[in-house]
């Protein structure tokens, strides 16, 4: 009797980017146990792994498909969103190379964890299955909780890690609860099935589904840091190491927004359109207003960037509310620009900050940057550029991104929302320009921070972000040509 086993046709190729990252991360974590000395080498290895994963991801561009029964989706939207996450991770790794030299408290596990989290981001944006999305989200979050508190001797870091973990766990409860409701109402985790069920549902069953949607929104809104789920953001960013804060602000935001768009557009595009658009409109307005207003009074650059990231979540929500393909395109564009300019700004902070002998971190206060333009002209110029980009001033990517976004809103008849966005941009300009004034026009009142001479690779982070920000501002075609393809 011959025994033959037929293997099911498994599309392993679809998983290669995630596998590369996870294998690389595991290798780095093992290596960190043995070889703790060569911290730079860990960084380079992480960077190499990331580049490999990005190539593997891009390789799927020509062959959009669905694998593992819809658990993994290879499409243009997912690839572009993962690339935004990879970009965020690359910037964070590049700035870590210098930052870890100065912060001996951070162990080399930092790099492995960052790759794991990036793998989660990649999974989260390329799936139509709520379970897979949830797993991606957790894979994203848990390493971040750890990374925030990797410096066990610093109280602020422990506090940040603890706060992020507690509130993140609470939000995850809402998310998983919502997924359970949706499963109960539709009998499936698949977004397309849920959409079908929503079409036919009546009465109580429809109410279960809508309640599931609401709870899901809470969990996602926490991850994208929309008001009133944003309270953790400034505290956590302030306490975390700068590269981790940058990674949270850029990578998490990109992945969570991409997943939110896919869930809402595919799963709830037909049946519950009115409900979520209404809720997200209110959230968008509240997020923009709260982010910008609270940023006004900040004196700490990391907190300022935290509130700025909240405000930008508000702008990005406008793109979701449009529910048009132009809206999605502009959202993707905005994500790339946002990753570059926020990552770049954190990069400047990473280069200029350091710990005092007494362990208190310095270089986070805006006062520390007074006269930076005179001391380190290139760094000062870079910070000014990123601030102008965040404020949405040409010729930067920030301007073009806002332009596309608000235009998409106007075309979708969301004129009032666009007006609110523009007004908020005006408020935003105030605090961004305050930093520019500090860097270029004011004279330092207290002894300047003696920043170390930044190495070539650290400069690569800021340089890459600068080049990208300018490129997106002057040559929008590089990205719009890609995102103009049918997305999903």
């Amino acid at each position: 009797v011959s025994l033959s086993i037929t293997w099911p046709a498994v599309d392993w190729a679809a998983l290669v980017p995630a596998l590369v990252l996870v294998v690389g991360a595991s290798g780095l974590l093992l290596a960190a146990a043995g070889a703790r000395a060569w911290r730079r080498a860990h960084g380079y290895a992480a960077l190499g792994t990331l580049v490999l994963a990005a190539c593997a991801s891009a390789a799927g561009w020509q062959t959009p498909r669905s694998a593992f029964g819809g658990m993994v989706i290879i499409d243009h939207f997912g690839i572009l969103a993962s690339c935004a996450a990879y970009l965020a991770c690359a910037l964070a790794i590049l700035m870590s190379l210098t930052y870890l030299e100065r912060e001996p408290g951070i162990p080399p596990e930092h790099y492995g964890l960052m790759l794991l989290s990036t793998a989660g981001m990649g999974l989260m944006v390329s799936s139509l299955n709520l379970v897979a999305i949830f797993v991606g989200l957790e894979l994203l979050s848990i390493p971040l909780y750890v990374m925030a508190g990797l410096v066990r001797t610093r109280l602020e870091a422990i506090e940040a890690s603890m706060k992020y973990f507690l509130l993140g766990a609470l939000a995850t409860c809402f998310l998983i609860y919502g997924i359970a409701f949706l499963y109960g109402g539709s009998g499936s985790f698949d977004l397309e099935q849920i959409a079908l069920a929503l079409d036919h549902a009546k009465g109580a069953r429809s109410r279960w589904l809508l309640a599931g949607l609401g709870l899901l929104l809470v969990g996602m809104a926490f991850k994208v840091a929309a008001a009133p789920f944003h309270f953790w953001v400034p505290d956590v960013y302030e306490g975390s190491p700068v590269p981790v804060a940058s990674f949270m602000a850029t990578g998490t935001k990109a992945a969570a927004f991409a997943a939110l768009v896919r869930v809402l557009f595919v799963g709830f595009g037909a049946g519950a359109l009115l409900e979520w658009r209404h809720a997200l409109t209110v959230l968008a307005i509240a997020t923009m207003a709260i982010g910008n207003l609270l940023a006004l009074g900040q004196t700490n650059l990391k907190r300022l960037l935290a509130y700025s990231s909240v405000a930008h979540a508000g702008y990005l929500l406008i793109g979701v509310v449009t529910f048009t393909s132009a809206g999605v395109e502009s959202l993707l564009y905005y994500l790339f620009a946002y990753v570059l300019m926020t990552g770049g700004a954190f990069g400047v902070v990473a280069l200029s900050s350091g710990a005092d002998p007494d362990g208190r971190e310095r270089g986070a206060e805006i006062e520390d940057y007074v006269g930076l333009g005179g001391r380190q002209p290139v760094l000062g110029l870079a910070l000014c550029l990123f601030m102008l980009a965040l404020a949405g001033i040409p010729p930067t990517g920030g301007f073009v991104a806002k332009f596309y976004l608000f235009r998409a809103a106007v075309e979708a008849d969301l004129i009032s929302l666009a007006v609110v966005g523009v007004l908020n941009s005006v408020v935003g300009a105030v605090y961004y320009l305050r930093v520019v004034v500090a860097v270029t026009m004011r004279q330092p009142g207290r002894p300047a921070l003696s920043a170390a001479e930044p190495g070539a690779l650290a400069c690569a982070c800021v340089g890459l972000a600068m080049a990208g920000t300018l490129l997106l501002g002057i040559y929008p075609g590089v990205l719009t040509r890609l995102s103009a393809q049918p997305l999903f």
Partner: protein, 656 residues
């Protein structure tokens, strides 16, 4: 070769990037070498592209990214996408470069003259300590921008070049920025140009609204087939012409060009004589079909051109600074080009542009050589008798001067005569008489220039005794341009003087690219008595130029008694002309002071009412922000509470 057209502007840009960014680490030799090599390579490529265009163009078809139009002898190279706003019918502005006979001529002039002047600059700037690399970076950047301007296949690309050359002009006029008057001159040039640029931009927008496209070939086809309303075409043409007035220094915006002489002399030669200032003429000729839609548009061009030609010539007669003489001469010659374009003789205008680039560059470089020899002296009163000390410079300037004066067979004769003949043949008698008078003045002032520098007794013996011929790196480009001013006109000998043949090669070459074949409407040889009349008109203009020459000789060399009385009679007029008719003061009184008063008034309103309101809003916003900070307690329990409240609100909105 045409496929590589994008390298033509890119090479100077790359040179500018290398020299500008790495100048600190480059030796002076290397910086100058890179700068010169990039322009020379661009010239070689431009030559290759022109040969390919003139040869078997069909062989070039089918190359990727190149569209060939055999009938119009035109190649469009798609380099990259740039702006894409809106779907169908939206704004599209890809980087496309247009190579046709017109742009081929322009790129040859820009790179050819540009390369010679780069070479010359090595000697001229040799004593510059810190700014050496900066100078060459700017000069390279300028060449790149100018090439972009003339190669741009759509108005947005052309506009990038248009603004870019303005920027480089500003940077180079203010090159010696430590001297306040140089920096002021740079600012003046920039601001006056902005007025023109605003008009240009409005013209582009008007054109887009009227014609729906900004691609030059589509635009011209639409204008020629009546696809653009007459009034809209008129408005767009006049607005675009405002830009040309600013860039090409015509009345009333010419005031920046004389001040622009604050820059290094090679810059004056390249930017403020040979190339950039001709951009306006190029633009009018390029869009000839559009300007021809409404007769008034070309009428305005011709009127302003001739008026400027005559007016600037009178000022040039009275200046005593050699660069100022040449600057007003440039303004005047640009006026001739516009006059030619305005009567529809676009071919003649471009021909004059080419010859003017050659002989005016020769004159400016000669003047630079003199200034270099005299250690910065520019006053003609302190010169004289330099002929034997600087023979190469002397002969170059004599050739340039004869070309400018329009003496047969030097370059300027043929081109200027073609413009004059087009005006007369087209029936524009008044224009012709004014232009003829201007030609007489031109011959006078340029002879005066040469005579006072090189002949007679030195005004300052000690200065003259130290004068020396310039080094070889300066003398060679000088001699080359001098030689070209002698023979350059032979590419466009008019049919009437061709002894039965047709030697007007440039006219035939340009014809497919210009509206109406580049000939003045109704002005073809044959009407008005034909060839004989044309020869007669040429002899007449030659006689007028001869009169100007003779007068200058009588005054400054022969010192004849009757001639001496003329300046005494004209003394009051001459004084006014020397002060350039006090136009700068007039502008200050009529425009600047009222504007300053308006600004002061607006400032008061702004500080009181507007700022008050804005500050009030800002205060409110800040208070709101301050209040909001109390919510940020730092306690996880409070944050969790807000999270729960938010969840309740979302559920409230989502649930029916």
């Amino acid at each position: 070769v045409i496929r590589l057209l994008w390298l033509v502007p890119l090479l100077p840009f790359a040179g500018a990037a290398v020299v500008g960014l790495c100048g600190r680490w480059l030796s002076r030799r290397a910086a100058a070498g890179v700068a010169c090599a990039s322009v020379a390579a661009a010239f070689a490529l431009a030559l290759g592209a022109t040969l390919a265009l003139s040869g078997d163009l069909a062989a070039q078809a089918g190359e990727p990214g190149v569209e060939i139009d055999l009938a119009a002898r035109r190649a469009v190279v798609h380099v990259a996408d740039w702006i894409a706003v809106g779907g169908e019918g939206g704004v599209r502005a890809p980087w496309r470069l247009l190579l046709d006979p017109l742009s081929a001529v322009m790129i040859l002039v820009v790179t050819g003259v540009g390369a010679l002047i780069h070479l010359y600059s090595i000697g001229y700037m040799a004593e510059e300590e810190r700014g050496f690399a900066r100078y060459f970076a700017f000069l390279n950047l300028f060449v790149g921008m100018m090439l972009l301007l003339v190669l741009g296949a759509s108005l947005p690309v052309l506009f990038v070049g248009w603004e870019g050359v303005g920027l480089c002009s500003y940077l180079l006029i203010g090159f010696y920025y430590e001297k306040e008057w140089c920096a002021d001159a740079g600012r003046k040039a920039f601001i006056v140009n902005r007025i023109g640029d605003a008009g240009f931009l409005l013209g582009v927008v008007t054109l887009f609204a009227a014609a729906g496209t900004l691609e030059i070939d589509a635009l011209l086809a639409r204008a020629a087939s009546g696809g653009v309303e007459r009034e809209a075409a008129l408005a767009a043409s006049l607005l675009l012409f405002v830009g040309a007035i600013g860039k090409s220094a015509q009345i009333p915006l010419y005031v920046w060009l004389p001040d622009a002489m604050a820059g290094p002399t090679p810059v004056s030669a390249l930017i403020h004589a040979a190339t950039m200032v001709t951009a306006g003429v190029y633009m009018v000729c390029r869009l000839g079909a559009l300007f021809s839609v409404h007769p008034l548009a070309l009428g305005v061009v011709a009127g302003i051109g001739v008026a400027t030609a005559l007016y600037a010539a009178t000022i040039a007669c009275a200046q005593t600074d050699i660069k100022k003489v040449l600057a007003y001469s440039t303004v005047s010659q640009l006026g001739y080009m516009f006059a030619g374009a305005g009567v529809g003789a676009f071919g003649a205008a471009i021909f004059h542009l080419v010859t003017h680039a050659l002989f005016k560059a020769a004159l400016f470089l000669g003047a630079g050589s003199v200034i270099h020899a005299l250690h910065g002296e520019q006053e003609m009163g302190r010169m004289g008798g330099l002929r034997d000390r600087m023979p190469i410079t002397y002969f170059t300037m004599v050739f340039g001067a004869l070309a400018l004066a329009g003496i047969v067979p030097f370059a300027g004769f043929f081109s200027k005569d073609e413009i004059l003949w087009a005006a007369l043949g087209g029936g524009h008698r008044i224009l012709w008489i004014m232009a003829l008078a201007g030609a007489g003045l031109t011959a006078f002032y340029v002879s005066r220039l040469v005579l006072r520098i090189f002949h007679g007794e030195p005004g300052d013996g000690a200065l003259a005794a130290r004068a020396h011929e310039s080094p070889r790196v300066m003398a060679w480009p000088l001699a080359a341009l001098g030689g070209l001013s002698v023979v350059g006109g032979l590419i466009g000998v008019p049919r009437a003087l061709s002894m039965g043949g047709d030697w007007n090669r440039i006219g035939r070459w340009l014809a497919p690219a210009l509206a109406g074949g580049g000939h003045a409407a109704g002005g073809r040889a044959g009407s008005h008595g034909g060839a004989l009349a044309e020869i007669g008109a040429a002899l007449l203009s030659l006689a007028v130029a001869g009169c100007g020459l003779y007068l200058a000789w009588a005054l400054y060399e022969g010192r004849l008694e009757w001639a001496r009385r003329i300046p005494e009679r004209l003394a009051p007029l001459a004084a006014r002309a020397r002060a350039a008719y006090a136009v700068d003061d007039l502008y200050e009184a009529a425009v600047l002071r009222p504007y300053a008063a308006l600004c002061a008034w607006a400032r008061r309103i702004d500080a009181g009412a507007v700022d008050g309101m804005v500050n009030g809003v800002a205060k409110t916003v800040e208070i709101a922000g301050h209040f909001g900070r109390y919510l940020q307690t730092g306690f996880v329990r409070n944050y969790a509470l807000f999270l729960l409240l938010g969840a309740a609100l979302i559920l409230y909105w989502v649930l029916p």
